[in-house]
Every structure is written in structure tokens, then in C-alpha cells.
């Protein structure tokens, strides 16, 4: 006992200190967003904003091109909602099919799905762009959200794994009670896979919120920009020294990510540990 205490103390110093070191850049970004723009790099070593100012937030919130940052947040939320609808509906249907139904070619299609999991987006990027431009979908959310209604291999896989843990006796009991296949899906399985659907929703949110390549390819007028694109514009407009506004808006885009994580931590951690989803 007497021997253990100092060792534990040392352990916490080491592990805790290292955690602070890792997160130091984020803390620095947060603190700097409250410093006067001109001071940020002059007092970069200090973690106390002196004088403390909210001016960066006011300036950043004004956005650019006549569109406030609120517009970009609203655009991103619309994008997120469509992606959520698409992934939740399509992936649960498809996963149920793979996990519970017997049909010719099931193994083949499941394998195809796993292979698409590893396919670099670059291989389909250019033809997709040409197809969507032929359809007249450029400068709209359609090229980004329509594919979401046809499933996403990661989430299908996650849900299949989850459904397989549900006892088949439940399905059989429902069949005896006269339920058809769709009713089994809707009334038996769907309520039981809510935790996995939560994981799907959370990661869909994260990936959509952070998505830069998609909006860069498909959205070109500022009134349609998402937050990640708006930040990118801040950077390319980076004039003499308005880092403050850019830092402030960076913090604004990180806040929802943190909030959702702290509320739904369990689903995030389980999602990663069970499927190896990249967060």
C-alpha cells in the first residue's frame, strides 16, 4: 500500500501531463480567439488574453461576401439533416436485408459492399462530377446528399453486426403472430437497433460537418457555403492579420462536435471499439 501510492501519483503526473500537452494546441486556439488580433502571435506564449475581447467573434460572425456565419451554419445543418435521413433510412433497410433475409447472391453482394469500403473516393470523383454536372446538379446539395439514400458501407456493416446479435427467436415469434417481413423489420428489429442507429447518426453528423472536399467540388456560390468551406475562405482571404476572426469561427465550428461527443460519448466509444470506425 505504502509502495503503491507514489507510483500511482507518478502515473497520473505522466499520463495527465501528457494529455494536457496533447490538448495544448486546442487550448491555445481557444484562448487566442479572445485576444486582440494583433496580439495573438506577439503573446503566443501566454495563455491569458490581456485585454480580453469578444471582437473576434463579432467580426467572424459577420462572415464575408454579404453572408453572415449564421448562414453557413444553417447551410451545414440542412446538409446534415439530409445526410442523416439518407443514412438512417437506407442503411437500416439494407442492413436488415443482409443480416436477416435469405436470398440468392447475398454473400456476393455483401462481399461487394465490403470491397467498396476500401475504395478510394478519387476513383469515382471525376466521373461522378461529370454525371452530376450533366444532370444540372452543380452548385446544389444534391450531388452530396442523393448518394446517402443508397447506403454507406461503414454504417451498413455496423448495423449488420448489431442485428446479428439480436436473437432470431424474436423474428420467429413475430412470424407466428402473422407479421410479414417488413413488419418484422419495422416492429421488431428497428426498435432494438436504436443504439447502433445513434452511432450511425453521430458519425454521419461528424463526417458531414467536417466534409470539405465535397462542398469544394460542388458548391460555388457563397450563399450555399458550409462551415468548413467558409473557414477555408477565411484562410484564403487571410489578410494582414485577421487571425482573430478565423480562430473565433474555428472555435464556433468545434463547439457542436464537442457538445455532441460529451452527450453521446458512450455511442461514439462503442462505435469505434466494435467496428474500427475512424472518428
Amino acid at each position: 500500500m505504502t509502495k503503491k501510492r507514489p507510483r500511482y501519483f507518478l502515473y497520473h503526473i505522466l499520463v495527465g501531463g501528457f494529455a494536457i500537452l496533447l490538448l495544448y494546441p486546442v487550448i491555445w486556439l481557444f484562448v487566442s480567439s479572445f485576444k486582440e488580433s494583433g496580439d495573438i502571435f506577439i503573446t503566443a506564449g501566454s495563455l491569458i488574453p490581456n485585454p480580453f475581447t469578444l471582437l473576434n467573434y463579432a467580426q467572424g460572425w459577420e462572415g464575408f461576401g454579404g453572408y453572415g456565419f449564421g448562414t453557413f451554419i444553417k447551410n451545414t445543418l440542412v446538409f446534415v439533416i439530409w445526410m442523416l435521413l439518407g443514412h438512417l433510412i437506407s442503411c437500416s433497410l439494407i442492413a436488415f436485408g443482409f443480416a436477416r433475409l435469405k436470398f440468392v447472391g447475398r454473400g456476393f453482394w455483401f462481399m461487394i459492399m465490403l470491397v467498396t469500403l476500401m475504395l478510394p473516393y478519387e476513383v469515382v470523383m471525376i466521373p461522378q462530377y461529370i454525371i452530376f454536372s450533366e444532370l444540372g446538379w452543380l452548385n446544389s446539395l444534391k450531388p452530396l446528399v442523393v448518394p446517402a439514400f443508397f447506403g454507406h458501407p461503414f454504417f451498413i456493416f455496423l448495423l449488420v453486426q448489431f442485428i446479428r446479435t439480436i436473437p432470431r427467436e424474436l423474428d420467429e415469434a413475430a412470424t407466428i403472430d402473422g407479421a410479414n417481413t417488413f413488419q418484422i423489420f419495422y416492429k421488431v428489429i428497428l426498435p432494438l437497433i436504436v443504439p447502433a442507429l445513434a452511432t450511425t447518426a453521430i458519425f454521419t453528423f461528424y463526417w458531414t460537418w467536417d466534409n470539405l472536399l465535397g462542398p469544394v467540388l460542388y458548391l460555388n456560390s457563397p450563399e450555399k457555403y458550409t462551415v468548413s468551406m467558409a473557414l477555408n475562405m477565411f484562410l484564403s482571404n487571410e489578410t494582414v492579420s485577421n487571425w482573430g476572426a478565423m480562430f473565433a469561427m474555428s472555435i464556433v465550428t468545434l463547439v457542436p462536435v464537442f457538445v455532441i461527443f460529451f452527450i453521446f460519448q458512450r455511442y461514439v466509444v462503442e462505435g469505434i471499439s466494435t467496428t474500427g470506425l475512424k472518428g
Binding site: F103, T116, P120, Y129, L231, F247
Partner: protein, 297 residues
């Protein structure tokens, strides 16, 4: 309707969206991209068949391509092993029965959580600036400050550090793997007088190897496709001196800045081949180093 036919119908009804999506958004574009890769294809004119010219040009006449390949290979083969080694080390540190571990796990995961965002790339760009906190820290340790944006190698390492910083998600996976190793294995080893390293190489690594295999494959593929940090940190240029011109970034520039759609498609297919070959090698060698519980007995 026979019951077999009916169950087939139901099956295809449910997975139908996947098949339609696969045909429309994956296989058709893939074949189109394969065709474009053999053509000269700008934005405004129809694709013109030129055979293997794009592929030949890539490896013989385009030093920027060779450079981007080199930069990406360094990025992948330095970044992925370092990140995974780091993740394993921290996971082992956190695999103790302390109450604070839940907290540490959360803190260590945070960089991974936000790592893909533009905000973090902007942050990284600024902490490595000439007056940034990294140089302040170096100076306080008596080391000369580095001009991270002045020299291609330094700039590339800045990107590699960013990828290592996000070791959290792998750490969570390893931690789950470590927890599933029965404590009795270690107890038995201790009784036999095994030291820490023997336990690590004889128990921990073999037991974790299936998880490790999956992680190596997925991380290698995603590292090859890294785009956002290079795009933001170099402000879309891939500079200095193409030092951060990762493969995806160069492909994007060829396709959507210079409008060489044919050439960019050829680049995409070479990328697919590289990823496929790497995955194949990892899989094929895996039988020599991946240990599956059921087989050993």
C-alpha cells in the same frame, strides 16, 4: 408465389438501394474513369483516345507526379506506423484499473474527434508558424526554431505530426482489444517467470494481431487518401516546393484546377492499384503474423 421466390424478392427489396447506388455511383463512374484514363479529356472537348500515354507521361515526364508519390509514401509509411505504435503504447498505459482512466481515454480521443476538421488544420498551421507555440517551445528547450513552411521536409513532417496527434481512435480500438485478453494468460506467464517484454511479444501482440491487421489496412488506405490537412495547411498549393503535395491534392489540382480530367483519372487508377497491391501484401503476409484464437488450438 413459392416461398423461395418470395424470400428472394424480399431480400432484393431490402438491399435494392445498395445495388442501385452501387451501379449508379460506384461501378459506372469507375468504368468511366477507367475509360477517361486512356484519353485526353479537358473540360470543354470530348475525350480523345490516347492509349497509355497518360500512364507513360506520369512516370517519365512529370517530376511533380513522382514527387507527390514520394511525398505520399513518406507520409503513409512514417505516419501510419508511428501513429499505431503510439496508439498501442498509450492503450497499454491506460489498460489499468484506475478510475481516472475513463477521463484520460476521453482526453486522448479528443484530437481524433476533431482531427478531420478545417478548424484543426488552421490551428496546426498557426502553431507551426514562425512565431507559433511549437517554435516557442523549441526555443525554450534551447533548440533552434524551425521554419516549418520554409522547407519541404519540415512541412511534410508537420503533416505527419498532425496525423500522429490523432492516434485516439486507434487507441480506443486497441484498448478494447487489450481488455479482451484474459488476465489468466499474463498470470500464467508471470508464474513461468516471463518478463515484461516476453509478455508483450508472446501474449499482447499475438492476441491483438487481428485488430492490428484491420487497423493497418484501413489506416494505410485512408492515409493514402489524405486531402484536407494538406489542402488547408498549404492553402491549396501543396507547397513549399511541393513538399506537402500529397497524391490526392495533386490529383484534385490536375482534375479541377488544370482540368486534365483524363490525366487525373489515370492518377486515380494508379492510386487504386497501389492501394489494392498494398492491401493484398498486408493480407497475404498476415498468415505469418496474425494469430486467430480458434486456429491455435
Amino acid at each position: 408465389m413459392s416461398s423461395r421466390l418470395r424470400s428472394n424478392l424480399w431480400g432484393y427489396l431490402f438491399i435494392g438501394p445498395f445495388i442501385i447506388g452501387f451501379l449508379a455511383f460506384t461501378i459506372t463512374p469507375m468504368l468511366a474513369s477507367l475509360y477517361f484514363s486512356f484519353t485526353e479529356y479537358g473540360l470543354f472537348d470530348a475525350p480523345k483516345w490516347i492509349g497509355f500515354e497518360n500512364y507513360i507521361k506520369m512516370f517519365t515526364e512529370d517530376p511533380r507526379y513522382i514527387n507527390s508519390l514520394k511525398v505520399t509514401i513518406i507520409y503513409v509509411f512514417a505516419g501510419v506506423p508511428l501513429r499505431l505504435a503510439f496508439a498501442l503504447l498509450v492503450a497499454m498505459l491506460l489498460n489499468v484499473g484506475s478510475r481516472a482512466v475513463g477521463w484520460y481515454r476521453t482526453l486522448y480521443y479528443l484530437p481524433s474527434l476533431i482531427g478531420g476538421s478545417v478548424a484543426v488544420a488552421i490551428m496546426w498551421r498557426n502553431i507551426f508558424g514562425d512565431d507559433g507555440i511549437v517554435n516557442i517551445a523549441l526555443k525554450s528547450m534551447g533548440i533552434d526554431s524551425v521554419r516549418w513552411f520554409g522547407e519541404p521536409t519540415a512541412a511534410l513532417w508537420m503533416l505527419i505530426f498532425l496525423s500522429i496527434w490523432q492516434f485516439g481512435s486507434s487507441m480506443l480500438i486497441f484498448l478494447a482489444g487489450l481488455k479482451s485478453i484474459p488476465a489468466s494468460f499474463y498470470e500464467a506467464a508471470s508464474v513461468d517467470g516471463a518478463n515484461f517484454f516476453q509478455k508483450f511479444f508472446r501474449i499482447t501482440l499475438p492476441m491483438l494481431s487481428p485488430v492490428l491487421l484491420f487497423n493497418i489496412i484501413m489506416q494505410t488506405i485512408s492515409a493514402f487518401m489524405t486531402f484536407v490537412p494538406a489542402f488547408i495547411i498549404s492553402k491549396g498549393t501543396g507547397g513549399p516546393l511541393d513538399g506537402t503535395l500529397l497524391y490526392s491534392l495533386y490529383l484534385f489540382k490536375q482534375g479541377f484546377e488544370y482540368f486534365n480530367m483524363g490525366y487525373a483519372s489515370a492518377m486515380a487508377w494508379v492510386m487504386l492499384l497501389i492501394v489494392a497491391v498494398l492491401t493484398g501484401i498486408i493480407f497475404l503476409t498476415s498468415k505469418y503474423w496474425v494469430h486467430y484464437e480458434s486456429e491455435g488450438k
